[in-house]
Symmetry: C2
Subunit: 693 residues, 2 copies
């Protein structure tokens, strides 16, 4: 399952680069589609109306994932594992929607998600000249970073004030382009339908990233405006016929991050340090949650979504690491680097590029030294305790709000305020016991990572053992209460400093803040230095490969294409399609044992459901984490399936695309209609999807 959220953990630096594409490679911008390739390879020429239509039907899940509008009444389809975060937050001790699914017959019963924000891309504006003009020639990386942050913040605020739309300045092609993306936001989003997790994630961890597969990995939401279902101008028409073997398909969605233009030094660092370190952390989290969940059914419910996402990321990173340890990947990278260096050495106008590789290696070295401190103090901290994440946001808000927007840590900029507050004031359930267990583990890891005598560790533990400290923090803090959060958020820094004295979690946030900011500053500045060097290398690449390029993924809307096509593995041919019947067969082969057990409803309806219905299929489209829930379209722009995973061979896609065995996995549109009707008794939803009354 290729969910963005945790997969992006290790991508300390979101990297963008100009890529010269081969075969069906590419995560293309919708305003710069590969028209020539499409025409030559497939005889297909998308019109601008076609492109606008698929763009405005695409939905970004801010929680990390993709989706699309599929009815005139604001119905949205995404993956079950993208909706899992919302299903978990809506569940309680009596209702386990994540495990058991959700279905209501009337719209009045659709339930509102706790803190979900959806974005639809409305317009793109080039602001490259304005951003670059803000940076003085010859500025240091630190100054350049500060200047760019300030101007981006200014542009965003201006745009928000003018249009009311969420406005993000997006860096593409390593800073060769800065584009202002404007999004329409939906924050009243309601849950409409979810299957049981058994059906959505049939085969569980063992089958994850494998193929053939049999997963009904879908979840339906509805966007509301002014308390009514949103009326859509753009939504995808559903294809009753589905896709055929060998057919051209498209994927529109939000790939999170790729690093295909890493230099050799960066790639070696990812292989030898970055990915292994994240794997250590993920495996520790996984063991912790399995152990916690094993204590009772209720514990298992509380940990379910988290555990799933850690297991998913672990399997993804294990696959990525396996790819990185293939010597061929490095041989290729070396050859490519030599090709570029050769040209740089030959052409006098590229003389200033020659040092770029060493500059990147030097910056990467500093990043490598700081990275664990940054990870533990900034990122893992927030991911290890909801209460700590909240306390930190409250503590920092007071400091950051006192600064001009352009000088703040980026998430505190004015134009992001509404999204920031939506998350901060979320009513999501927080369980003290789970917080305590996770915080104990976090403090333990902090101590062992830096040594128990490290000043930041001493400050964090405050003379106690991790377990004692975690207990004190969780039972002593008041930030679980949303009213308290609102009051603290409204407070100035003097009032907040006073509150810190009475709240241990706020005190912890303060205790690590200096060290955390210092690590973050180093990472951000060195990333800027790398970007500057990378944009020089991009000139060499441009000189060699011209304009047939796409930027690395940045969780912005992209457009991929490919062919529905099986592949050869271990000497056998894996067909492109599976059927519903295959799911029953596979379950029977495992004697119905978890995770190959079928929901009761599926067992009861085996005689009614049409077993030959196509269930999942694969295509060569170029996807990555964040593409989860992306619609798969045919030439007519109709919905033929929904992306939910990549196979194990695709896991190296962060660094390189191949179409030999690497495949994108979709749930077939036909399986969705068939099971809504004949398994879930949800004919009204099937009708809505098909545009029938």
């Amino acid at each position: 399952m290729r969910l963005l959220k945790v997969s992006a953990l290790a991508a300390v630096v979101g990297f963008q680069a100009m890529n010269s594409a081969q075969a069906d490679e590419g995560m293309w911008l919708l305003n710069a589609p590969p028209l020539q390739t499409l025409k030559e390879r497939y005889g297909f020429q998308p019109t601008s109306a076609w492109l606008e239509h698929v763009q405005k039907s695409a939905v970004r899940f801010n929680s990390g994932g993709s989706g699309s509008f599929v009815s005139a009444d604001g119905l949205i389809i995404t993956n079950h594992h993208v909706g899992a975060d919302d299903l978990q937050k809506l569940s309680d001790e009596k209702h386990n929607y994540l495990r058991d699914g959700f279905h209501v017959k009337s719209r009045a019963e659709e339930i509102r998600c706790v803190d979900l924000e959806l974005n639809v891309l409305m317009s793109i504006e080039d602001v490259t000249a304005r951003v670059n003009a803000a940076v003085k020639p010859g500025a240091s990386a630190a100054d350049s970073f500060a200047a760019r942050r300030a101007i981006k913040s200014e542009i965003e605020k201006e745009s928000l004030d003018k249009t009311g739309l969420r406005s993000d300045v997006v860096t593409l092609y390593q800073g060769a382009q800065y584009q202002l993306y404007r999004y329409k936001k939906y924050t009243d989003v309601r849950l409409v339908f979810a299957p049981e997790q058994q059906a959505a994630f049939f085969g569980g961890d063992p089958d994850n990233f494998e193929y053939p597969r049999y997963d009904l990995d879908i979840c339906l939401f509805r966007a509301y405006e002014n308390g009514q279902p949103a009326k859509m101008e753009h939504f995808l028409k559903w294809s009753e016929a589905g896709a055929a073997d060998g057919e051209l398909v498209f994927v529109t969605g939000h790939p999170g991050s790729t690093s295909r233009l890493f230099t050799y030094a960066e790639l070696a660092d990812a292989r030898d340090r970055r990915v292994p370190k994240v794997l250590d952390w993920l495996k520790a989290q996984e063991v912790l949650l399995i152990s916690y969940g094993g204590r009772s059914t209720e514990n298992a419910r509380r940990a379910r979504d988290l555990l799933f996402s850690y297991q998913n990321s672990r399997k993804a990173y294990d696959g990525e690491l396996a790819g990185l340890l293939d010597p061929k990947v490095f041989q290729k990278k070396q050859a490519e680097e030599e090709r570029l260096k050769k040209l740089a050495a030959e052409r006098p106008e590229l003389a200033d590029v020659r040092a770029a590789w060493d500059e990147i290696a030097a910056a990467q070295k500093i990043i490598a030294q700081t990275s664990q401190r940054y990870n533990f103090l900034e990122r893992f901290a927030d991911r290890s305790s909801s209460l700590l994440a909240i306390a930190r946001e409250l503590y920092r808000s007071a400091t950051e709000k006192a600064k001009p927007s352009g000088q703040r840590l980026r998430e505190y900029r004015d134009s992001n305020r509404a999204s920031f507050e939506l998350a901060l004031f979320s009513d999501e359930p927080i369980y003290n016991d789970l917080e305590q267990v996770r915080l104990t583990a976090y403090l333990t890891q902090l101590a062992t990572e830096f040594g128990a005598d490290d000043p930041v560790v001493l400050a964090a533990l405050d003379g106690k053992s991790p377990r004692e400290r975690a207990t004190e923090l969780v039972t002593g803090t008041k930030v679980k209460d949303v009213t308290v959060r609102k009051a603290l958020y409204a407070a100035d820094s003097v009032a907040l400093e006073k509150a810190v004295g009475a709240d241990p979690m706020l005190a912890l946030a303060r205790a690590v803040d200096g060290a955390a900011r210092m690590a973050r500053k180093t990472i951000e500045e060195q990333s800027e230095a790398k970007e500057q060097a990378q944009s020089k290398i991009a000139r060499v690449r441009y000189a060699l490969d011209g304009t047939s390029v796409y930027p690395d993924a940045t969780f912005t809307l992209r457009f991929a294409f490919g062919t529905v096509k099986g592949y050869a593995e271990d000497g056998a041919q894996v067909p492109a399609f599976t059927t519903i019947e295959g799911m029953y067969t596979r379950s029977a082969a495992h004697a119905g044992r978890e995770p190959f057990d079928l929901p009761a409803r599926w067992l009861a309806q085996e005689g009614k459901v049409k077993l030959s219905t196509p269930m999942n299929f694969v295509s060569t489209a170029d996807i990555i984490g964040g593409n989860s829930g992306s619609p798969t379209l045919n030439r007519a722009g109709e919905f033929v399936g929904i992306i939910f995973d990549g196979n194990i061979q695709s896991l190296v896609a962060d660094f390189a695309y191949t179409d030999t065995q690497s495949r994108a996995l979709s749930v077939d549109a036909r399986a969705i209609i068939e099971t809504l009707r004949n398994v879930y008794d949800a004919g009204e939803l099937a009708n809505e999807l098909l545009g029938k009354k």
Copy 2:
């Protein structure tokens, strides 16, 4: 569960020190029991006949654990989790004895274990003077290490030749004593009875190391001599009455390793590096095996024992780390160290001791730098692939056999040959798919630990990805075949070098051998340097505390004592005993869900079994990993229970003993008889245990 095998992983250096005991502390030598303490605290004076009887009734499981003789016909009782290794090796696709248990009505059907060796301590001889005489005064750590290794080897060989008994020179009190231990060996050991793993390990990983508990963690074997059940002079009489609350009890068994006399520097290194590193490795193994086991029931069976032992160790180390991160542990250590340093500074005759702490810190620093290389190349390698372990032993045998016994790596010494060959020619099942998965993980970890460009990694991977290389190794090697092993073992080094060319696994063993030996040499020499310094510190301790001391655990027979006694936790009192009824109640509270499910037999017999029978109980006896399966005895030396675990509060016992909450867990002798009779229909075994016909 306190199993020695994997717990000992991190104990890179087996540490011995003189401990001054408090309360019920102590893992005492049977030839130096704490007579005065026992008399003063408990009014108990064991006679030498009593001591000899319990000594000769005690059994050491060479696979890691303890047990005892409990009938005149050679019946042995140990824990299910100690016998697990044998149950796993005797199982196949059709028989899952580890999961389902084992019981035969007639002795003729008892089945012989694949490679189990049991040891019974017969005599002890002081050889301190002879060992010390071999070391030249002022010798370097390297020379001293070599000299000691040679003389120990010589003494052992001499003793073996003379007595025919297994002979081990054991280091006690930091080299203040060297003792020759002679063991009677049993290698024809047959499986008699095992309950279902559900009953033995009821509550699974969540309940592991917890209390109250309800585990029938037992397994019965029988020693055979000349094809007949061994006739025992010494075996424990079974107590029908069991132990009572507040009663004095004894534990005889083989605690694996403690580090209670670590200096501050060593303790800090354990906390900040050693334990966290082992935990990273264990968690990665656990995730790997859960993932592999999830693919099918047969996979789960193949991985079962390994998974259990990794989970068990992980929980033990997590607890140990939690203890190490308690600042009080370090405050105490510091105070103790200051007390010793003060005396050393005051007394002129202790002048040569003053540098000892710095010497240890310096040696520890070198060990810390080398330790991961040593772990990965020596220890984790063998634990990651049975085939690699075999190939290495074959490869090294040729080299080692060419040297005089005293100069060989210690496991290749002449006096150890029989035990070594028993393991090397073991018929234990080896599964290629599991080997491949584990070897892939090992090679991946090797690459990420040292960097893919490290020479030893390049040599190990031979230009391939870990997965490709693992496939080639497992499918290409011939050492799975015991006949091939025997032929290679008989070969000289020239013939073996030739075989290496044709067998990739042997080639891998050779490729890493130089680096592995180098790392091992460093660790062994620095450990010797630490021992020399520690034995100086021992003189200070002796000057302060006199003779009331016991040596740190070394997997030699020890004797602990304590009181059957509950404890307070989170404001409530945890009673000393649980009952069989409690097990049914706990299962029902979890709706019979795994790992709280009861075997079918238990459910069927609920009406028949006497529910008020005591099931498990706790005492203050001082135990550690390796004590698993130790008998718990009353004053009369009768069997009242069997040690199977320590509670979570006892997990810091490697470094410090406390009796406030720390408890040793036993299965009650009465539960064993009751369930043999009324759950397992094994009245004949109950009768044999009770000495009835």
